[in-house]
Symmetry: C2
Subunit: 298 residues, 2 copies
């Protein structure tokens, strides 16, 4: 299967659904909604939503079932976008560029950016419990909300970002690095895959396999992210590069060297492929996505 | 019924349940969880959780049903606390004192405070979809999550805070003031009451009446908040006072004068009482709470 075509097609689906589900910039809260929309519609890779859709496709037998994962995918992108807005704030990473555009607080100011993040995070749970997911059973929706809230929360993404800030400029070993990345990046990627599988009616064994796949892919993603920060240009990535070394962030290349890190990423992707052995060709997109994640250039 | 005793007893219930449900300060994310706990356990009035419990009591026939609202009440307090942490940030209201203690960012720094707020907001949805609410039906939980996410989101509390910032120091009329307060304060208060009623199995007519009660009580609460900012001391309120006038915030006393505002608060509470006419003595706590809200000194 041609991964580039797949990515473009699924990106398109996600963009359309996000456009349909996101609040329109009008009414009394127009400025707030504009700030949310600015970062949400700024051309991200939509990797988490696409992984969510691909997981649904891997278990679903018809396109109608597959479509049930689409609003869930959008909620995940709202949460991912909120995390980028808050991470970029002056009090955090203080970044001026994101996805090739000025960061939210650069455009709207700090207060509005904090609130835009808060709004997107809250809106994700509105989507997951509202009319857009009403064709899922209440049981499935409840599990999905739990999976996503857990992954995004104090022992997942937010906790990971907090650890990342605390260890900036400090010496620490592999255990800390792994905890930071598993929580900060890995947890939401795994949750995207698990949520997509649940939305498509996967059985427990399938959910469990796909979670393992998610963990390996999340690890590979983070290692490659660290490598790209080291080896790419700002133009290529659309965000500031070389910052990890500058602020002495704990990274894979810092601990294992460039070659060692590349090897670890490849091993993680191999492990991810292995977990999918019991799946038929419907899981081909997931297989291709795992390869794409180590080979990507941005 | 003696409102002071009722408040103390319900406060106690909420404190115990919060202590049981909140993450303990240990493990890899200990600093992040400590920052969350600092603001969550800082002696708030617990008004939203208590309104949630009182709404459940107004419709529930047994104490077991009433208890189902308790974890929902705790989730509401997590959301309320997150909103206080973010509102107090230097980029927002820049407050040093809250509930008589240094604000979160004063103690833990801006980055940790932003993340503590994010963590509490996300954890609220973890609670609402996790094991603590498992004795509610999935249908009821889904409705509760929707009600709370809607009330806390871009067209509710976050949107209201955004408008409040935008209109600081600007001239505007009653319509804007009403929109700000209905969204910033009223929405979550009404949601607390609606969620409590749903948790206790209220029928649609009861839910609708209790929502009307919530709207009136929310309005009264906000008017009195504005009056207290004008008339109290920092020691009494546990937060900075007189700031509304200083930064030219839109307030009820600024638009309608002190006497006019008092009259409006009384009228709102009268309207709230009227809505409860169809309820029996189980709604007495709600009746007493409405009176307490206009008579409170902090």
């Amino acid at each position: 299967m041609e991964i580039k075509t797949y990515l473009l097609e699924r990106q398109d689906l996600v963009e359309q659904e996000l456009a349909a589900l996101m609040l329109s910039a009008s009414g009394p809260f127009v400025q707030h909604i504009e700030a949310m929309r600015y970062s949400l519609f700024s051309g991200g890779k939509r990797l988490r939503p696409i992984l969510c859709l691909a997981a649904a496709e891997a278990v679903a037998t018809d396109s109608e079932t597959r479509c049930k994962a689409l609003p869930v995918a959008c909620a995940l992108e709202c949460i991912h976008t909120y995390s980028l807005i808050h991470d970029d704030l002056p009090a955090m990473d203080n970044d001026a560029l994101r996805r090739g555009k000025p960061t939210n607080h650069t455009v709207y100011g700090e207060a509005a950016a904090i609130l835009a993040g808060d709004g997107l995070l809250t809106y994700a749970f509105d989507l997951l419990s509202g009319s857009s997911t009403a064709n899922l059973s209440d049981r499935a929706r409840m599990r999905i909300i739990q999976v996503i809230a857990r992954a995004a929360g104090p022992q997942g993404m937010v906790g990971g970002q907090s650890l990342d800030m605390i260890y900036e400029g400090k010496q620490a070993g592999y255990e800390v690095l792994r905890t930071i990345h598993q929580s900060k990046t890995g947890a939401l990627i795994t949750a995207a895959i698990e949520a997509g599988a649940i939305a498509a009616g996967a059985n427990e064994e399938q959910v469990s396999c796909l979670c393992s796949y998610g963990q390996q892919v999340g690890l590979a993603f983070q290692i490659v992210d660290d490598l790209l920060d080291l080896e790419s240009s700002t133009e290529e990535l659309g965000k500031a590069v070389g910052k990890d070394a500058e602020v002495l962030k704990l990274t894979y290349p810092a601990l294992f060297g460039v070659e060692g890190s590349r090897k670890m990423a490849r091993e993680a992707v191999d492990a991810a492929q292995q977990v999918l052995n019991g799946f038929d060709t419907k899981a081909d997109p997931l297989r291709a996505l795992a390869r794409y994640i180590v080979e990507r250039k941005k």
